[in-house]
Each structure stands twice: as C-alpha cells, then as structure tokens.
C-alpha cells in the first residue's frame, strides 16, 4: 500500500503550519522527514495517520493493505506510550484483543514479535522495570503485532541516549532487512535520517514546505556508523537546514 499526499496545507486558526505538501510514500521504503523545530512534522504525521484532517489537500491510500493487516497505519511514539499497569506481553496483547485475537493465536503473534525485538525474556516485566531502549522495543513489538502497512514514527529514538539509539537503529535495520516495512520516520537527528532513510524529505521552517527530497541508494544493511559517504550526505543536509534552523530558532524568541 502506497500513500500519496497531494497539496496538503493546514492552519490552526490563523496560524499557518503546513503549505502545499505533496509527497509519495512508496511501499516497502522508509521515508525520513527532517526539518527545524515547529515546522509541522508531527502535524503532517497526524494527517497521514488520520488522527487529524488537513484544512486543504488530501491524504490518499493507493492499493489496499495486506489481508492480515490489523491496523494499516500504526504509530510509534517518542514517549513510548506503554500502559504502565500492563506487562510487556499485556501491552502487546492490548492491540490484539480488540480484533478478537485471543488465546493461542494471540500467543503465537506475541511470541513472534517479542522474539523479533529480542524481548522474549522480559515478557512478564512491567514497563517500570525496563530501560528506555527496551521500552521503545516493546512499542516496536506492539506495532509489529498488528502487521501494519505503514509505520508512522515520530522521533522514536529522541528520548534515548546516543548508544542506545545506535543499537536500536541496528535493530530497526535488521527488522527491515528481514521483512521490509513501509515507514514515515520523523526525526531531528540527521545521522538517523541518513542511516535509515531511502529518501529524506527536508522541510523549511514554518509554514512547512518541502525544500528538497534527497534519495539515498545505498542498501540499508550496508550503511554503517560513520560511513564517509553518509557523512557527506549528512553535511549536505545540514547545509540545507542550517539557515532554516537558525531562523526558526530566532523566531521562537520573538513570539
């Protein structure tokens, strides 16, 4: 299932946030969105996931999601959003229960996703017992459980320290290599963007417009921490963003 945004614009009352965004999210690819703070990245992601509606333009789904897909558009949040009163297993089963999946079928799915995210030993732990990296892996496991057509990730690694972030990027890459998924990945971190993105959408400051879309052809599993060509790309992205970020930063002071 592909996603197409055509001419999406949005204002909160008189406050223009997004202007004429047109974008294609092809199936099986990871599209990263980078841009200065407050340029409307999270808002855009809410439009894609149907949590909000843009004031102009539309979000189209092209083709239908796979038959065994329980929740085509699935979020992974920056703050993990785990229910603290449910165990790891309970948090995953939460999203299955409403689809009438219980008992042995649920157990099979839960075991599978916990194995894929290397959490099998922690199935009965409560979120308060887990580190930040593990919590986000639980959230990823929960998202995988509903077999999404598109994963919508809003700065999923931003709450983690940089070592954990590296480890989780490796995990995401190996998950994708085994079974490619479609994802829209919003981030502030250009290093994450060049490691995970098949294409990187650079947005201007608010009102957010697309400045440029950078395509990276190097396969995900061949990208390494500190690759020189990736660093080049990262530098290029930073060139694009630098002035915007500075201006966006100054803007906040005037408000």
């Amino acid at each position: 299932m592909d996603i197409r945004l055509s001419g999406v614009s949005h204002s909160y009352d008189d406050f223009e946030v997004l202007r004429d965004i047109s974008l294609e999210i092809p199936s099986g690819r990871i599209v990263c969105i980078v841009g200065p703070s407050g340029c409307g990245k999270s808002t855009l992601l809410r439009f894609i996931g149907g949590l909000e509606q843009p004031s102009k333009g539309e979000v189209l789904q092209i083709g239908s999601p796979p038959a065994d897909c329980l929740n085509p558009l699935t979020y992974i949040f920056q703050d993990f959003a785990l229910l603290p009163w449910r165990s790891v297993r309970g948090n995953v089963s939460l999203v299955l229960e409403d689809h009438g999946i219980r008992g042995a079928r649920a157990e099979a799915i839960i075991t599978d996703v916990l194995t894929r995210t290397k959490l099998s030993d922690f199935a009965n732990a409560l979120p308060k017992q887990l580190s930040g990296g593990m919590k986000q892996r639980v959230a990823i496991a929960r998202a995988l459980a509903v077999n999404p057509a598109v994963m919508l990730m809003d700065e999923p690694l931003s709450a983690l320290d940089s070592q954990t972030r590296e480890l989780l990027m490796d995990d995401l890459i190996s998950l994708w290599t085994r079974t490619p998924f479609t994802a829209v990945y919003v981030t502030h971190n250009l290093a994450e963007a060049v490691r995970l993105g098949h294409s990187i959408v650079v947005m201007s400051r608010r009102p957010g417009e697309i400045r440029e879309v950078v395509h990276l052809d190097k396969p995900l599993d061949q990208r390494q921490y500190g690759d020189s060509d990736l660093e080049e790309q990262q530098k290029y992205l930073w060139q694009l963003m630098r002035e915007e970020a500075r201006a966006a930063d100054a803007e906040l002071v005037h408000v």
Binding site: L70, Y75, F77, A81, L83, L94, V95, E97, P127, R142
Partner: protein, 290 residues
C-alpha cells in the same frame, strides 16, 4: 598546583604589592569530606514510630492520672478505658453497637462511592455531563450534609434509610470530585495511542482511562471514607438506639468519660482499619507505579 590560588585573592593582593622577597607561607587546608546535602524530601517508611507515638501518649496519660497531675475530670485513666472496653466486649454490647454501625457505614459508603465513581467517570468522559453536573457538584459539596438529615428522614424514613442516605450523600460529592479529577489527569498520550491502534471507545475507557484514573480514585476514597465515618456518628447521635454514635452520645450526656473514650477509640480503630484496607487495595492494584 599554583600556590597563590589556594591563598585566595585577598591575601594575594598586598603580597603582590609588597616586596617580592616575602613569599607567602605554604598553607594548604587539610582535605575535607565534601558536605552531603542531598538528604530528606523522600518519604521513608518508619512503621514503629507511629505506634511509638501512640504508646508514649497513652503511657503519659496513664502516669499522669495515676500520680494525680492529671485530674480524673480532665482525662480518664487509659487502663479504666480499657476495662470499660473489656466490659463492653464481654457483655456483647460491643457487637450490638458495632454491627449496626458497620452495616450503616458499609451500605452508605458503598452506595455513595459507587455512584460517585460512576458520575465522576461520566463527567470526565462527556463534556455535556461535565457542563451540567460540575456546577451542581460544586453547589452540593459545601452543604453540611447533617443539616439535611430532617429532609432525609422525610424522604427515606426515620429508620435506616435516612442514615444510609446521609452517609451515601456525604461520600458521593468528594468521590465525584476526586474521580473526575483523576480521569482528567489520565495521560493523554496513552489515549492517543489507543485511538491510533483503533481500539474501540469502550476498550479505551475500560483498559486505559479507568486503570489510569485508579490512583486518583483510591486517594479520593480515603477522604470519602473518613467523611463517611464522621457522618455515621453524626447520624447516630441524632437518633438511633444502637450504634457507636448513640453509645458515645449516651456516655457523654452521663458524663461517663471512660465510656466516651472507649467509643472514640473504636472510631479511631475503624478509621485506621479503613485506611489499612485502602492501602492494601493500593498495593495490590497499583504495584505498577514507580
């Protein structure tokens, strides 16, 4: 290390101005352990201190009344109170009073708390209910419910009905306020998560909102139940044959301090017991909290 830094600028300045031959003496302060200042402000469990305070106060009263520097008109002797309590127990009267009181408390508080939680959740979930009922709750909250007892007697009869109603009504309002506050405080990001996974409205309420509001509801219940005990006694003082309130009232009008204090002690124990039950429930239901 540069020695002059250790001596500090005050010492240094005249020295620099003075003849260069005079060198400052070598004084290094001895190494001192850095001062710990991070303690306190974290509740630590000291179970026995609470009991010790009780024992100390009672022992003081006992010694004072025995030695005479507390007259028996001021305070009854604790051992006499205990004796009265023993008589009450052996005569079977304790159970007569306690059973009717407990029954009233249980029925009244259960009615008030369950309606309160239900209405509080409704206020938290539906903006129309909120708009309609929050002002009404605010208007009902400050009414001393005892003042309404005559009305309740007319509505629900002079017997148990009016007492149940009084206690229920008294627990209802604080429970409502605590409950909708707790529902409002449920982490919005968890609700958004539930919606993003297409959970049904009912599932979100049952699996996210209610468990998330549980800590606030339980701490509200603590207050409501204490109010229920106060109202229980008030209702029983205003007209009841049996019950702890009636027992205390009778003792008071006869100026029988031992029996008065025995009755008051039963109330305190009741309060401690209620609080312990809630703590137990909290520990069972809220073990997920940090």
């Amino acid at each position: 290390m540069d020695r002059s830094i250790l001596l500090g600028p005050l010492l240094l300045r005249p020295l620099l101005l003075g003849p260069a031959l005079i060198r400052p003496p070598l004084i290094r302060p001895p190494p001192a352990r850095s001062h710990f200042r991070g303690g306190g402000f974290a509740p630590v469990a000291h179970r026995w201190i609470g009991a010790a305070v009780f024992v100390l106060l009672i022992a003081l009263a006992e010694i004072g009344t025995r030695q005479g520097w507390i007259t028996s008109l001021t305070l009854p002797r604790p051992s006499d109170v205990l004796e009265t309590f023993g008589e009450l127990y052996s005569s079977g009267l304790l159970w007569t009073h306690l059973s009717v009181s407990l029954m009233r408390l249980l029925v009244g508080a259960a009615l008030g708390a369950s309606f309160g939680v239900a209405v509080g959740v409704m206020i938290g979930l539906f903006s129309y209910v909120r708009a309609g009922l929050v002002p009404l709750t605010a208007a009902l909250f400050p009414i001393p419910k005892i003042a309404l007892l005559p009305l309740f007697v007319i509505w629900f009869g002079i017997d148990e009905g009016s007492k149940y109603a009084l206690i229920a009504f008294g627990t209802f309002t604080p429970t409502v306020v605590a409950t909708y506050g707790a529902v409002d405080n449920v982490d919005r990001s968890l609700i958004r998560m539930g919606q993003s996974f297409n959970l049904s409205w009912f599932s979100i309420v049952r699996k996210i909102v209610l468990p998330g509001a549980m800590p606030g509801i339980l701490s509200g219940l603590r207050i409501s139940l204490a109010i229920a005990i106060i109202l229980l006694v008030a209702a029983e003082m205003l007209g009841a044959e049996h019950g702890i309130g009636a027992y205390i009232l009778e003792a008071g009008s006869l100026y029988d301090l031992e029996r008065l204090f025995a009755g008051v002690a039963i109330l305190s124990l009741l309060g401690v017991g209620m609080s312990a039950v809630i703590s137990l429930i909290e520990r069972r239901l809220l073990n997920w909290r940090q």
